[in-house]
Point group: C2
C-alpha cells in the first residue's frame, strides 16, 4: 500500500494516518488551519477542491465535519496516493477521491449539490516563473492547470444556495479573491488573517463565503503562529490539539 519514496504519518487524530511523498510535498499548517476554519455539521456533503494527498478530507473527518467528503485532484499519481490513504484508514464509505480538474467540474458533478466546498489551491499565479508540467511540486504550488477564478467559479457551481465556501490563500491576493468571489455570487462573510508573529505581515488568509449570502463581513481576531519566544501560541495548540494529543 505504500510505495518507495512515500512515508506514512500518523495524524494523532482518531488513529488516522496519511501517506505522503516528501519528493512532491507534505501537508503544512495551511491545511490544518483550513480544516479548523471550515464549519460543517455531521450531515454535510463536502467537496474539497485541489485535495492533493487528501489531508483536508482526512482532517475534516477527524474533526467530525461532514457526512460524505469528496476530494478532487488533477494529478493522477497524487490522487491515487490519496485514495490509498482513504483505504488505509478504511474510510471508503465517507471519503471519495476523484481524479479531475477542479476548473472543469461539469459534467461529472451536478450543479448545486454540495453544502460545503473547501479549497487549498496553488498560491502562485502562472507566469511567475517557468514551471515544468511534469513537476508535481510545481503543479501543486502554481496555477499551472487552473487560474484562481475558474476554481472559484467551480465552487459557485458546486454549492447549494446558501452553501459555504472556505479557502486558504495568500493575503497578497485578497483583493482578487474577494472580487472574484463576489463576481461569482459567493459573498465574503468572514476573514481570518494568520500572522507568523507580532510585528510581522500576515502570510496566510482564511476566507469564508456564502453562495447568495448578504454582505456582512466579520474579521476574526489576529491569529499568531509563534509567540515572542518562538514557541507555538495557544491558538496553534488549539488548532492542532486533536492532531497532537
Amino acid at each position: 500500500m505504500v510505495k518507495s519514496h512515500e512515508r506514512v504519518d500518523d495524524l494523532q487524530l482518531k488513529g488516522l494516518q496519511i501517506i505522503q511523498n516528501p519528493d512532491w510535498f507534505c501537508f503544512g499548517i495551511d491545511a490544518v488551519l483550513l480544516a479548523d476554519f471550515a464549519e460543517a455539521n455531521k450531515r454535510a456533503k463536502i467537496m474539497d477542491l485541489c485535495t492533493g494527498n487528501g489531508i483536508v478530507p482526512l482532517l475534516l473527518y477527524g474533526k467530525n465535519k461532514g457526512a460524505r467528503i469528496h476530494g478532487l485532484e488533477i494529478q493522477p499519481e497524487i490522487a491515487e496516493m490519496a485514495q490509498r490513504s482513504v483505504r488505509m484508514n478504511k474510510l471508503d464509505e465517507v471519503i471519495s477521491i476523484r481524479i479531475g480538474d477542479a476548473s472543469r467540474v461539469k459534467p461529472e458533478e451536478k450543479a448545486h449539490s454540495y453544502d460545503v466546498v473547501t479549497m487549498n489551491p496553488p498560491y502562485k499565479p502562472i507566469g511567475g516563473g517557468i514551471v515544468n508540467p511534469t513537476d508535481h511540486k510545481a503543479i501543486a504550488r502554481h496555477e499551472v492547470t487552473a487560474g484562481l477564478e475558474t476554481l472559484i467559479e467551480s465552487a459557485a457551481y458546486l454549492l447549494n444556495s446558501q452553501g459555504r465556501f472556505y479557502m486558504v490563500h495568500r493575503p497578497q491576493r485578497l483583493v482578487e479573491i474577494v472580487t472574484m468571489m463576489k463576481k461569482h455570487g459567493i459573498e465574503p462573510k468572514r476573514i481570518r488573517l494568520i500572522y507568523p508573529k507580532a510585528g510581522k505581515r500576515p502570510n496566510i488568509v482564511l476566507i469564508k463565503g456564502i453562495l447568495g449570502g448578504k454582505p456582512d463581513l466579520v474579521m476574526d481576531p489576529p491569529f499568531f503562529v509563534y509567540d515572542e519566544n518562538g514557541e507555538y501560541t495557544p491558538e496553534v495548540h488549539r488548532v492542532y490539539e486533536d492532531i497532537w494529543k
Copy 2:
C-alpha cells in the same frame, strides 16, 4: 474666533490648535491614524473629503505632508469652524476649507487635479436608524448625505493618474470598499488593520489605493492600540509622538 460650546485643543504639534465643538464631535484616533497612514511629499496637492473640523488637513500639515491641502465639508457650520481653525493657525496659504458635498465635486473641482485624496467618511450606512437631518453628530457618522460609493467615485474623479487614495473605515465594510474602489479604477494596494488589543477583532481599517494601479496588495503587520495591561502600545505612541511630545 471661538464661539460658545466650542473649545480650543492644542495639537502639541508645531503649535497647532484646533477648534472643536463637543456637542457635535471631537476628532478621534481614526483621524490620527489616517494622517499617519497617508503618504505625501512636500509638493503634493491633497484633498481631504468629509473633512469635518479640519483635523486631517491640520495633522497632514503638521507632519510635513503636502504643499497645498484642501478640505471639503458638507455641513456649513462645521466647515466654518474648520475655516476658523485654519485662520487661527495662520495657515490660509496652505489649507483651504470649502463647504461642499463630497459626492458632488463637479463642476467646482477639476478632474484629475489632486495627487492625494484622504477621507474619514461617515461609517454607518443610512437606513441603520432614524437620523435627524439637522443633527450634526448624526450626519458626521451616517451616510445621510452620500453613500460610500459616490464618495469613492469622487476620489477617483479628483485623483491624478497614479494618484493615491487613503481612507479610514470599519472592517465590516472592507469587501464593499474593495469592490467599489476596483469598480472606479482605484486599485487597493495596502491594508492596515487596527485591533483594540490582542484577541479582539479589528475595529478600524486603513486602506490605500492607487488610481490605475496594478493589483499587488500589501497587508501591514497587526496594529494594536492597547497592550495586555491596558496601556497604549509603542505603535500608538509612535503615531501620536508628534502630537504628544
